[in-house]
Structure formats: structure tokens, C-alpha cells
């Protein structure tokens, strides 16, 4: 590699046009990670809208104490499918399928994912799995109705006889395999396809977080898939794994589910942490503060997350309370490190309040609320009386809405790289304020309702008229969140091919901003020298290298 200038890669390919099919056939047959990633993004955002619409129906039903918008049976389907769509079909695939697919190979200077065909298979499994699960609504028995956690034996063929339950299981298996294949692909890509000079400790935080996420996927998702096979066998092949009558153990499902389910929380969260980290650094014009500490924090979160699953089961009375309590409490430490690193990144920077930055700040504050309320739930005595109340619902909605904020930040930040065009900033900021304020108005009353004793998953609460006003307030918050989505849709229409982005509109730091927007077929015509985790910044600002504490050269 040359030392001062960027090295062209295979100059004769500079005008390489990929000679494949075009249009619809291209989309159907492509193995290009950027197009697959874009398909993932669009599908996941559609799922977000579907899940959001279900949420608005739930909030409409709960705005009065004896709501008649939907029946009890329909209400159970609503919250089951809301949770399932949001967790299985939106948050996960958006985190490790959509932006990761597009950005990770470019961030490490790779031409594509390690296994492009497997990558395409992942997407098609995800799409078919999503459709399979949603088809439940069109069966005679309705969609799955046992909650997104599907606690046995409510999922047995006796308690949930409909085809909707089987479609839920089938859809989940398909998307589960999709996730496992993506996990394999990400690990192989990150380990084997890094550009010369891109050592492990020069990888951007987003890529690091996706590596850790992918390893967690490989550890956790097969357990869920195994559990689903057991459940299907119980329902159709006469096994008795989860039924007491046949000598089975229903609570085993909870162990299997949460052994996947708690790592899953971090499988969802870590990619969004990575997005926020990149955005905060770029819009503060500084390197990530405590870069290595950030990576060790991510790794310890992942390691701890494998040993905390039973904090979802404190009230079962069949788990060792102190062990799972201290493990869960400890997760607060690396998470706290991340929060202080984010603040440290902004400290003495030049903060540019772009839409992407506002979304990341919104993420930080909302995640702080979700994180602090999570610490209570790690303490069994406090969990006993908040478990299955709206306090828990509020806690994890603070967390996941923080992820939605970060994800929106990711779209505003990386969207121009994928499409070549910027989104309108004024509409973006309007979207941010509706989303951010809506989130707090939506969750805050739910915390209070939980402490006042409102259990979750209630279609009606006729004996508690005093809960109506707080519920109505929460529904207003949900409506504001819905309005924010409209701003996003309008923004896409208004900004359509209007504001050309250029290669590097944000004066960003990582490798994806070195290539064109959108990048060429195999991503790069040339690569800069890679001597830190910020090769593009080093190339553009050779006189402004990162300095460690204690060194005083400017």
C-alpha cells in the first residue's frame, strides 16, 4: 500500500458495471449486500408500521376502562402480534439484517459479505417467515393469542388450537434460521474480509457491536429454534415436553425461551448502540471517547447477558434468586460505561444538532430511563411486585423506543450513503420531536399505572376507573409516535432525489464515507491508508489525529 495517497484497487474495473439483470429480476436474484440490505430495511420498516398500527389499536382499546373496540379474543391477538412483529420481524432484522448488511462490509473495506448467496437466503427466509406469521390473521381461529413469549401450556393444542399458533411457530423458525445465517455471515465477513490495515482494534464500534451481536445470535437463536421444534412436536406429534399430564415440565419453556430471550435483548440493542456511537462521534467531530473501553463494555454486556435469563422468572419461585440478581445488576456497569463514553465523546466537541444527532441524543436519554428502571427489576423483591404490571411494559418500551430513535438516526445518517440523497432536515427534526416527546408521554403514565397495580395484557379494567386518565394520556403519546411516522413517510416523498449527498456529507470518519454514494458494485474503487478506526477522517484531516490523555501534541 502506498503511504501518502489512496491506492486505486484494480483500476481497469473502475468503470465496472455489474453485468447482471436489472429491475425486478435484479432485485429477486441479487447477492449484492447493499441491495439485500435495502430490501431488509424496507421490509423491516413496513413491519414497524404494521406493529405500530397494532399498537395504536391496543392504545385505543385501553383509552377507556371498558373498551369495546375489540373483543377479548381479538385483544389477545393484537398484543401477541404487536410484540411478535416488533421483536421478531422489526427490531432484530432491522438491527442485524438491514443496516448491518449494508454498512459492515463497507466499514471494513470488503467487497461484499463472505457468503453472498447465504445472505440472499437469509433475506428470503426473513420475508417468507414474516408473511407466514402475519397470515395468522386470515385463519378462522385468528392469529396467535398467547403473548409474544408464548408461555406453555397456553400454547398447547388444547389451549391454542388454531392454525394461527402454528403459523406463528413456523414464521418464527424461518426468521430464526434467517438470523442464524446472518450471524454466520457477519462473523465470517468480519474475521476474513477486512481490508489490509484494518486490524480488530481499528474496526469501527458499529462493526464491533455487530460482531458481538452475531456471536450472541449463534449462541442464542439455536436454543429458541430447538424450543419451537419441541413446541411443535407437543402440538402435533404427541410428545409431552411441556405438558404436566404427560410428565412434562411447562416451566422448561420459560427457561428455553429466556435463554434465547435475554441475549436477544442485547442482540437487538447492541447494533443500535453501535449506530448511536458512530453518530455521536461524527456530529461531535471527535473520536469515540474510550474506544477500547467501549469494546470491552460491549463484550462484557454480551457475556453477562448469557447468565441473566432467569430474572424474567423471579416470580416462578423455581430459580436461584441471588445469582440471577447480581448477574443482572452487574450489566448496569458496562452499560453505564457506555453512557459516560457517549458523554465523553461529546465533551469539548463541536456538537452539530442534525436530525441523526438529535435522534441519537433522544436514544441516549430514553435509554437512560429504560436502563435505570431496569435496575429495579434485577432486584427480586422489587421485581415480585412490578412483574407483569405496566411498570415492566413501560420499562421495556423505554428501551425499545430508544432503539427506534437510534434506528431512525441510523437511517438519517446512512440513508444518504445508500441512496445518494439526503433527507429533509426540517421534516426530520419535526419527526424527532414528535417521536421523542411522544415516547415519554406514552411511557411515563405506564410506569405510574404499573406501580398502582395495573397488570399487563388486560383488555378491560372495569374495577379501576381511576386508571382511565393515565391510560388516555399514554394513548395520546402513542398517537404522537404515530404522527412522527407520517413525518418520516412525507419526508421520503418530499426529499425524493432532491438533495444530492456527495461522498461524505457529514465529514464522517469511517471507511463507508470514503467511497461514492451509493457505492459501486463491489464498494470501492480505492482505499485510503488504514491506520486507526477512522481512516476517512485521517485521510481528510491528516493534521488532526486522535490523541490519548496525557499526550499534549496538537
Amino acid at each position: 500500500m502506498s503511504h501518502t495517497t489512496a491506492t486505486p484497487i484494480s483500476e481497469h474495473d473502475s468503470h465496472d458495471e455489474h453485468h447482471g439483470p436489472s429491475g425486478l429480476l435484479n432485485w429477486l436474484t441479487t447477492t449484492d449486500h447493499k441491495i439485500i440490505g435495502l430490501s431488509y430495511t424496507i421490509t423491516a420498516v413496513v413491519m414497524l408500521v404494521i406493529g405500530g398500527a397494532l399498537a395504536e389499536l391496543i392504545r385505543a382499546q385501553l383509552a377507556s376502562s371498558n373498551g369495546h373496540l375489540v373483543s377479548f379474543a381479538q385483544y389477545n391477538e393484537l398484543f401477541t402480534m404487536h410484540g411478535s412483529v416488533m421483536i421478531y420481524l422489526f427490531a432484530g432484522p432491522f438491527a442485524f439484517g438491514a443496516l448491518a448488511n449494508i454498512i459492515v462490509p463497507i466499514q471494513i473495506g470488503a467487497p461484499d459479505m463472505a457468503f453472498p448467496r447465504l445472505n440472499a437466503l437469509s433475506y428470503w427466509l426473513y420475508l417468507t417467515g414474516s408473511i407466514t406469521m402475519l397470515l395468522g390473521f386470515f385463519t378462522t381461529g385468528g392469529a396467535a393469542n398467547f403473548g409474544w413469549v408464548g408461555y406453555a401450556p397456553l400454547t398447547s393444542s388444547l389451549n391454542a388450537p388454531g392454525a394461527g399458533a402454528d403459523l406463528w411457530i413456523g414464521g418464527l423458525m424461518l426468521t430464526g434460521f434467517s438470523a442464524i445465517f446472518t450471524g454466520v455471515n457477519l462473523v465470517a465477513t468480519i474475521f476474513y474480509l477486512r481490508a489490509p490495515g484494518m486490524t480488530m482494534f481499528r474496526m469501527p464500534i458499529f462493526t464491533w457491536n455487530l460482531l458481538v451481536t452475531a456471536i450472541l445470535i449463534l449462541l442464542a437463536f439455536p436454543v429458541l429454534t430447538a424450543g419451537l421444534i419441541m413446541l411443535y412436536a407437543d402440538r402435533h406429534f404427541g410428545t409431552h415436553i411441556f405438558s404436566v399430564a404427560g410428565g412434562g415440565v411447562p416451566v422448561l419453556w420459560q427457561h428455553i425461551f429466556w435463554f434465547w430471550g435475554h441475549p436477544e435483548v442485547y442482540i437487538l440493542a447492541l447494533p443500535f448502540f453501535g449506530m448511536a456511537t458512530e453518530i455521536i462521534a461524527v456530529f461531535s467531530k471527535k473520536p469515540v471517547f474510550g474506544y477500547k473501553g467501549m469494546i470491552f463494555a460491549t463484550i462484557s454486556i454480551a457475556a453477562l447477558s448469557l447468565g441473566v435469563w432467569a430474572h424474567h422468572m423471579f416470580t416462578t419461585g423455581v430459580v436461584l434468586l441471588p445469582f440471577f440478581s447480581i448477574m443482572s445488576l452487574l450489566i448496569a456497569v458496562p452499560t453505564g460505561i457506555k453512557i459516560f463514553n457517549w458523554i465523553g465523546t461529546m465533551w469539548r466537541g463541536e456538537i452539530w444538532f442534525s436530525t441523526a444527532m438529535l435522534m441519537s441524543i433522544g436514544f441516549l436519554i430514553t435509554f437512560l430511563i429504560g436502563g435505570l428502571t431496569g435496575i429495579y427489576l434485577a432486584s427480586p423483591p422489587l421485581d415480585f411486585f412490578t412483574h407483569d404490571t405496566y411498570f415492566v411494559v413501560a420499562h421495556f418500551h423505554s428501551v425499545v423506543m430508544a432503539l427506534v430513535l437510534a434506528g431512525m438516526g441510523g437511517l438519517y445518517y446512512w440513508g444518504p450513503k445508500i441512496t445518494g440523497y439526503l433527507l429533509n432536515e426540517r421534516l426530520g427534526k419535526a419527526q424527532f420531536w414528535f417521536l421523542f416527546i411522544g415516547t415519554q408521554v406514552f411511557t411515563f403514565p405506564l410506569y405510574i399505572l404499573g406501580l398502582q397495580g395495573m397488570p399487563r395484557r388486560m383488555a378491560v379494567y372495569p374495577l379501576h376507573k381511576e386508571w382511565v386518565s393515565l391510560n388516555a394520556l399514554s394513548s395520546v403519546g402513542a398517537l404522537l409516535i404515530g404522527v412522527s411516522t407520517l413525518f418520516f413517510v412525507v419526508n421520503i416523498i418530499v426529499s425524493w432525489k432532491k438533495y444530492p449527498a456527495g461522498d461524505n456529507p457529514w465529514d464522517a470518519q469511517t471507511l463507508e464515507w470514503f467511497t461514492t454514494s451509493p457505492p459501486p458494485h463491489h464498494n470501492f474503487y480505492r482505499l485510503p491508508q488504514i491506520r486507526s478506526e477512522r481512516p476517512t477522517w485521517d485521510y481528510n484531516h491528516p493534521e488532526h489525529k486522535s490523541i490519548a490523555h496525557g499526550t499534549h501534541e496538537e
Partner: protein, 283 residues
């Protein structure tokens, strides 16, 4: 606290020292912990059992920590936003990246806080999940969608579902031992004023003990999704003085059992039981 009990025969000196040390440390600590009454309530009530008051104080301490840490982060953020807002888009700040002493500080301090929260948790949790000996036992059985409260040895049974929610009568200032089971799916036994809940699991007998110190009638409800009428699975807990309880027990002997038997038969025929799917019949 067990920290005041004498060491068993043959305990080693170091064991004894540890016990004394623990007594020295835990006693004042639990005293401070359990008397956080000058703090705000942070949305939680003291409840009506011996444990619920401790849970309330633990909640206060957790909330105090959360409020202080939250405030610190928000103040730091607010300062950064005001002070470091971009004034000149050409300006490039100093590219400092590490500050090891600071990073160590915000790793070590949270670990200390976590240990403190864990110790507080243990102080409240251990007596709460202990099962002291008691003469009042209630067998609680949860089913879709109601509750059965049986008083073994007294032939007293209270049963009710959905709209006719049953009432569990218990004596005040007495350890009441509960054996909690479920007939069908997972249910949640939750009394808000007890600051406590526990799953009713099929195939498992869950045991816990509580001691209600205040007479009155308290609302209870199923908290774990259990199917169609989950929203209507209410019950009540009526805490009365010991004499009233004894009187109630003898007045309802056999009468209630007979009524319950009749009611149970009626429930069985009324209960919504979905027909089995054809596929599951195939096995």
C-alpha cells in the same frame, strides 16, 4: 435477622469472627435501609404486610440512586449541549480519546453501587422468601378463570370465577403459609397491597408465607396472561382479627365445602373449554 443467632457447636473461630463481623455490618445497615421513611415514596405504598414495608424501603433506596445517577447524566448532557454546541462549522476540536483515570472511576463507582444495591436486595429478600412455621395454611388453586382457596384441616373451601370473584379470609398478624398451584396454564397471584406476586404453575406447588399487619379488604388479580378471560380473573383478600377468622372458619365448615363442590361442578360445565384441534386428536 439470623445474624444475631449463636454459631452452631464446633464452628471455627474464623466462622465465628465472620458471623460477628456480619452482625456488625448488617445490623446497622439494615437499620438504615429499613428506615428510609424520610425519603419520598417514589410512587410506591408501604403495603399491609411485614415484607411489603421492607420492599417499600428498598424501593426508596433504589429510587434515590436512580434519581441521583439520572440527574448527573442529564446535567452533564445539558452542560455539553450548551457549552459545546457547534459555533463554526470549520472548527475542529482537540481529538482527545482516552482518559484512563476517569474511565476507571466510572467503572469502579458503579460496581460499588451495584454491590450496595445487591446487599440491600438480600436484606429484604431473605426474610421475604423464608417460610417460617405457621398454623394457618391456605391452599390456593388458580384455574381458567378463577381461584379456589382451601383451608386444609377445616373443610373450608372458597371458590369463584370471573365476575363472582372469591374472597380469601386470613387472620392479621399471623404467618400465613400458601401452597399455590394451577390446574391448567400459568397464572399470577398478585395482591397490590402486599407488594408481592408469585406464579401459579401447573405441576408445581409454589410456597410462600406472608404476614398481614393491617385488617381490611384488598384487591387481587391474575397478572400472567392465561387466555380469554384473563382480564376478569379477580379475587379479594380479607384480613380480619384472629377471633373473627376463627369464627368465620367454624361458620363455613362443610357448608362452604358443599357449596364449593356444587359450584365446582357447575363451573366445570360452564367453563369455556375450546374443542381440540383435529390434528391433535390424531395422536
Amino acid at each position: 435477622m439470623d445474624s444475631t443467632t449463636l454459631p452452631p457447636q464446633g464452628a471455627t473461630t474464623s466462622g465465628r469472627t465472620w458471623r460477628r463481623l456480619r452482625a456488625l455490618l448488617l445490623l446497622p445497615l439494615s437499620g438504615v435501609l429499613l428506615s428510609g421513611c424520610t425519603l419520598p415514596n417514589f410512587g410506591v405504598t408501604k403495603g399491609v404486610t411485614k415484607s411489603s414495608v421492607n420492599v417499600y424501603h428498598l424501593w426508596q433506596w433504589f429510587s434515590l440512586g436512580a434519581a441521583l445517577i439520572g440527574l448527573l447524566v442529564v446535567l452533564l448532557l445539558a452542560y455539553a449541549f450548551l457549552r459545546y454546541r457547534r459555533k463554526d462549522d470549520k472548527a475542529i476540536p482537540k481529538q482527545s480519546q482516552y482518559h484512563i483515570p476517569l474511565e476507571v472511576l466510572y467503572t469502579v463507582v458503579p460496581i460499588i453501587i451495584v454491590i450496595a444495591l445487591f446487599v440491600g436486595t438480600l436484606i429484604v429478600e431473605n426474610p421475604e422468601v423464608a417460610n417460617p412455621r405457621t398454623d394457618v395454611v391456605v391452599n390456593i388453586n388458580a384455574f381458567q378463570w378463577g381461584w379456589k382457596f382451601a383451608y386444609p384441616g377445616h373443610s373450608v373451601v372458597v371458590i369463584g370465577q370471573t365476575t363472582q370473584s372469591p374472597t380469601m379470609v386470613i387472620p392479621a398478624n399471623t404467618n400465613v403459609h400458601v401452597n399455590l398451584t394451577s390446574t391448567d396454564v400459568v397464572h399470577g397471584f398478585y395482591v397490590k397491597e402486599f407488594n408481592f406476586s408469585r406464579y401459579a404453575l401447573p405441576g408445581v406447588t409454589n410456597q410462600f408465607t406472608f404476614n398481614a399487619v393491617k385488617t381490611g379488604t384488598y384487591a387481587g388479580q391474575c397478572t400472567q396472561l392465561c387466555g380469554l378471560y384473563h382480564s376478569l380473573m379477580y379475587f379479594k383478600v380479607k384480613v380480619v382479627d384472629r377471633a373473627t377468622y376463627d369464627h368465620w372458619l367454624s361458620a363455613n365448615r362443610d357448608v362452604s365445602a358443599a357449596a364449593a363442590a356444587a359450584s365446582a361442578t357447575a363451573l366445570q360445565s360452564n367453563t369455556y373449554v375450546p374443542s381440540k384441534s383435529t390434528k391433535s386428536k390424531a395422536n
